[in-house]
């Protein structure tokens, strides 16, 4: 190469025909970064499920750690313990998912129809309140459930049921399948509610009105016109809820682990936390493969990729279906649901934090000790109240710091990915990046956390071992929520006409100035909503981080998990309420900003 052309190359001016565009440089950076943080971990997990881990020699004579083997797979799917480590948990997960999906879909679609199409009073109230169970952490209802149905059989203090009836509630009501299905079912009602609400609002009411003109009855219209029109959404809601249910962790841990009722996710948790890595990987891979297949199948059926549901909050004005004699019964159903499952759990948890001795339901037992009290060795092993408790305060600080940092980084990366993907429309690299950013959506949190745990337990070349650092928590959250932040970024970028930047190019304005002065200001409102949403989600995340937190990096969610295990119920409930409060404030600001809420 001529020296002059090298100079030209370095100057980046005239001779660089093809590399001048910043999106191409960013594309390279993102592909490397995402390969390292998404593709590599998955590949690593697959590979390590086929080699002996440190526990290998314990089971197989002559096993060499790191040597290729099918042992792990055989152990999980075809051995004398496969029943307890794989088939039973898998069956539990499947039946939980089916049960909760049926509950979520039945009530979600009924509520959606009532709120969108029927002449029900207080619609705006219901529309807002019915979302709440999905905004608060998924285990809120589980904790409240325990408050009511805890039995003396499993140690700890009595629940309300016992206090009122004098009898222990039956086992099937206190722990295990039924409570898990109900808690998760209620948690996902808003999810199906939102999907169906959108679908129903999009139906052209003239389709129903023309049937009415032809003298079709209301039920007939519902069955022959409305239902077929929302069927795709209904199917989609079923599939998505079902696959999310398979990966749920927290509720199943709170309501299942005390009675050794294992599911897929809790089994992965116990394998990985007991350092049975290979076994955990095999289970995680089976879970990931299952959820991915389901999601891809759903997308194939939908014909296009639909990543999430968008709530636009758009009301529609149209003739409501008259409920007549059903009006008040339906209203009663809705109100009962709201009282028992929306406000009830929060009030119960609130009450619980005020009880000096948990399980004694009288006024003289009320105290603020667990919020502001100093350490008292007679209560909760001398744990001071929440606001005086250094480890809780530390966890609150950590959670806020993690959620804040994660949302800022996510927003920033989201905008850059959006820019790269949209600018490279139609090019291979654009599709590659878009696909990789979607992958974390398919990997359940507990499995994702598990992979990161082992990968970052050691150092990789210049990258030090990150286990135990705050940075690792942030990285795992940023990557896990990439599907949301990058799709928000892509959506925001799609709204900016390319000519707005091209004009600046013609005016010789450099990339950084273009980005700072034009692209960013125009994209920022869309990104802000995504950031706030990431903040809310990160505040209440448990499954993703439970394997990664160390005493130094305790989070609010992990401290709840620990306090539950130690039976410090008041503290656990109090911290849960604090998360609910923070999350609700976040949600309120999000709504005020007019942002779209994406699930």
């Amino acid at each position: 190469m001529h020296s002059s052309s090298i100079v030209k190359l370095i100057q980046g001016g005239n001779s660089l025909l093809y590399v001048r565009k910043p999106e191409k440089i960013m594309a390279v950076v993102f592909i490397i970064l995402l390969s390292g943080l998404v593709l590599f971990p998955v590949a690593y997990m697959i590979q390590n499920s086929f080699v002996f881990d440190e526990t290998g020699p314990r089971y197989v004579r002559g096993a060499v750690i790191g040597e290729w083997t099918l042992f792990n797979w055989i152990r999980v799917v075809h051995s004398n313990i496969s029943n307890s480590i794989f088939y039973k948990p898998a069956l539990n997960s499947l039946s939980i998912s089916i049960g909760m999906t049926v509950i979520a879909l039945t009530f979600g679609s009924l509520f959606a129809w009532l709120v969108v199409r029927a002449d029900l009073p207080w619609k705006p109230f219901f529309s807002t309140v019915l979302i709440l169970p999905y905004i608060v952490p998924s285990w809120t209802i589980a904790l409240a459930w325990l408050t009511v149905f805890r039995s003396e059989k499993y140690g700890g203090t009595p629940g309300i049921w016992l206090a009122m009836t004098g009898h222990n509630p039956p086992d099937w009501l206190a722990f295990g399948y039924l409570p898990i299905v109900i808690s998760l079912g209620v948690h996902y009602i808003p999810y199906t509610f939102i999907i169906l609400r959108g679908a129903l609002a999009n139906i052209d009411s003239r389709l129903e009105e023309s049937a009415e003109l032809l003298k079709a009855g209301k039920l007939r219209i519902l069955a022959k016109i409305t239902l077929p029109l929302v069927l795709p959404s209904l199917g989609s809601a079923f599939v998505l809820t079902f696959s999310k249910g398979l990966g749920e962790f927290a509720t199943q841990a709170f309501l299942g682990l005390p009675v050794r009722f294992y599911t897929f996710s809790t089994r992965i948790y116990s394998s990985l936390s007991n350092q049975m890595y290979a076994e955990g990987y095999v289970l995680a891979m089976i879970l990931i493969t299952t959820t991915s297949t389901i999601v891809f199948f759903n997308q194939m059926m939908l014909g296009k990729r639909k990543r999430y549901v968008t709530i636009s909050g758009k009301g529609s004005r149209r003739k409501a279906v008259e409920l007549r004699k059903w009006k008040w019964p339906m209203l009663a159903v809705l109100l009962t649901f709201v009282v028992i499952f929306v406000f009830g759990p929060l009030l119960l948890l609130g009450w619980q934090t005020l009880m000096r001795y948990d399980g004694q339901y009288n006024l003289s037992n009320l105290t603020l000790h667990y919020w502001i009290g100093k350490a008292n060795t007679n209560l909760a092993d001398g744990q001071p109240g929440i606001f005086r408790n250094p480890s809780i305060l530390n966890a609150i600080g950590n959670s806020l710091k993690m959620a804040g940092t994660t949302s800022i980084i996510s927003g920033f990366i989201g905008i850059l990915i959006g820019y790269t993907v949209v600018k490279g429309r139609g090019k291979l690299y654009s599709r590659v990046i878009e696909s990789i950013t979607f992958m974390p959506y398919l990997i359940p949190g507990i499995a994702f956390g598990g992979i990161y745990l082992t990968i970052f337990a050691k150092s990789w070349g210049p990258i030090p071992s990150l286990y135990g650092t705050f940075a690792l928590l942030i990285i795992v959250c940023v990557i896990k929520y990439l599907p949301y932040s990058s799709s928000a970024g892509i959506a925001a970028m799609h709204q900016i006409d390319p000519s707005l930047e091209e004009v600046a190019v013609v005016h010789n304005i450099g990339w950084i100035a273009r980005f700072r002065k034009i692209v960013f200001p125009l994209a920022k409102s869309g990104i802000l909503s995504a950031m706030l949403l990431t903040f809310i989600t990160t505040m209440r995340v448990l499954d993703l981080v439970i394997l990664l937190v160390t005493p130094k990096t305790t989070l609010m969610t992990s401290i709840i998990f620990r306090y539950r295990a130690q039976d410090f119920t008041q503290h656990a409930s109090g911290v849960t309420l604090l998360i609910v409060l923070i999350v609700l404030i976040g949600h309120f600001i999000l709504k005020k900003l007019g942002g779209k809420v994406e699930l």
């Binding site: 025909l17 010789n508 125009l522």
Partner: protein, 374 residues
């Protein structure tokens, strides 16, 4: 001095070749229009000149200096080509006021704040945007928005002005007004101007030279007069002109010193009394006649009254007549000044006289000869 020379330019998007080996010279100070249907490559050519699009092959020079050359691996960034570009959608930055929009155009000019202010106020004045400086784009009408984008372009005093369908989003009245403003601007700045449009009226009204394009190939380069009256091929004949030109398909028949064509079903149409020796008997041709180049004969022999008036459309100063032969094989559109169309009504039988037209080879589509022009 800014003469743009394009040679052997090729550009593909995927498998579609959008520009096919183009050669063109745009003379200094000229107003040149790329005219063609959507997808003909006109905008792509403009974007290649601007540098926003990188051609696959070829060379573009300005005053002999290459701004793009695939052979020498030269590709000047758009910002270094000293040109300005106005987009169809105005491309105003929505979060900036009129003043900020124009001012941000000078971001890289290296001028002091005062100099910038001076230039900005000057171009605001020139474009008639006084009192609108503090408004945001969404508070402006379409016409005002387009003026702002023109102001933003000219404030940097580019040597070449590029317009990408700048008037397409405006209503007819405003389009007319801005058309004359653009023409005036060009007259004052004398900058080489390349203007892309699919609107032939705009092209005819504005240009020194029109480049008619179709499917990535230049069909004709010529003055508005040439393009309108002497289309080089069927595509240009068909595309330029509103209402569209009449195209009569048939075989050449010469008899009694009269040139006629034989239509598919054997009926014969008299075209012109002139005879061109070059035309072979029985050659398949397409005759292209402008609607204003046909006269209606009312007082001819009944044997010549072969046409029926199917419908009339008064257009103000002119009236469009839709004629049809008895066997419905041939339809013609005629444009006649209102004062010459006395009492012609639907269903009346009339004769016609063709005053001038172009004869094209049906096979190649190219012009063979013209008749009736002085």
């Amino acid at each position: 001095m800014s003469t743009i020379k394009i040679s052997n330019l090729i550009k593909s998007f995927g498998k579609t070749e959008v520009i096919k080996d183009m050669d063109l010279v745009i003379k200094d100070g000229w107003f040149v229009t790329f005219l063609g249907p959507s997808g003909c490559g006109k905008t792509t050519t403009l974007r290649c000149i601007s540098g926003l699009e990188t051609p696959d092959k070829g060379m573009i020079t300005v005053d002999g200096k290459a701004i793009f050359s695939s052979a020498d691996r030269i590709n000047l960034p758009p910002g270094n080509r000293s040109l300005g570009l106005v987009f169809q959608n105005y491309a105003l930055w929505p979060h900036m006021t009129v003043k900020q929009n124009i001012n941000f155009g000078l971001y890289k000019s290296g001028l002091t704040k005062e100099e910038k202010n001076q230039k900005v106020s000057h171009s605001i004045k020139v474009m008639g945007l006084d009192n609108l400086e503090e408004r945001y784009p969404h508070e402006l009408s379409g016409g005002q928005q387009q003026r702002v984008s023109v102001a933003r372009m000219v404030v940097v005093e580019p040597k070449i002005l590029l317009f990408d369908e700048p008037l397409s989003n405006l209503d007819a009245k405003l389009r007319m007004k801005l058309r004359s403003e653009l023409k005036r601007l060009h007259h004052e700045l004398k900058a080489t101007t390349v203007y892309v449009t699919h609107d032939q009226v705009e092209a005819l009204a504005l240009s020194d030279q029109i480049v008619v394009m179709n499917e990535g190939v230049i069909q004709q380069i010529g003055s508005p007069y040439e393009v309108y009256h002497y289309p080089k091929n069927l595509f240009v004949a068909d595309f330029v002109g509103n209402p569209q030109a009449n195209l009569i398909h048939g075989k050449i028949k010469k008899s009694n010193n009269i040139l006629g064509v034989l239509l598919a079903n054997e009926s014969k149409i008299k075209i012109t009394p002139e005879l061109d020796d070059e035309l072979e008997e029985d050659k398949e041709v397409v005759i292209n006649i402008r609607p204003e180049d046909i006269k209606i004969l009312r007082d001819c022999n009944d044997s010549e009254k072969n046409y029926e008036i199917y419908a009339t459309q008064p257009m103000g100063s002119e009236i469009l007549f839709h004629l049809i032969t008895e066997n419905k094989e041939l339809e013609l559109i005629l444009k006649i000044p209102e004062d010459q169309s006395l009492n012609l009504k639907a269903d009346m039988k009339v004769g016609i006289q063709i005053t001038r037209g172009n004869i094209m080879d049906k096979e190649s589509g190219n012009l063979i000869t013209s008749f009736g022009f002085k």
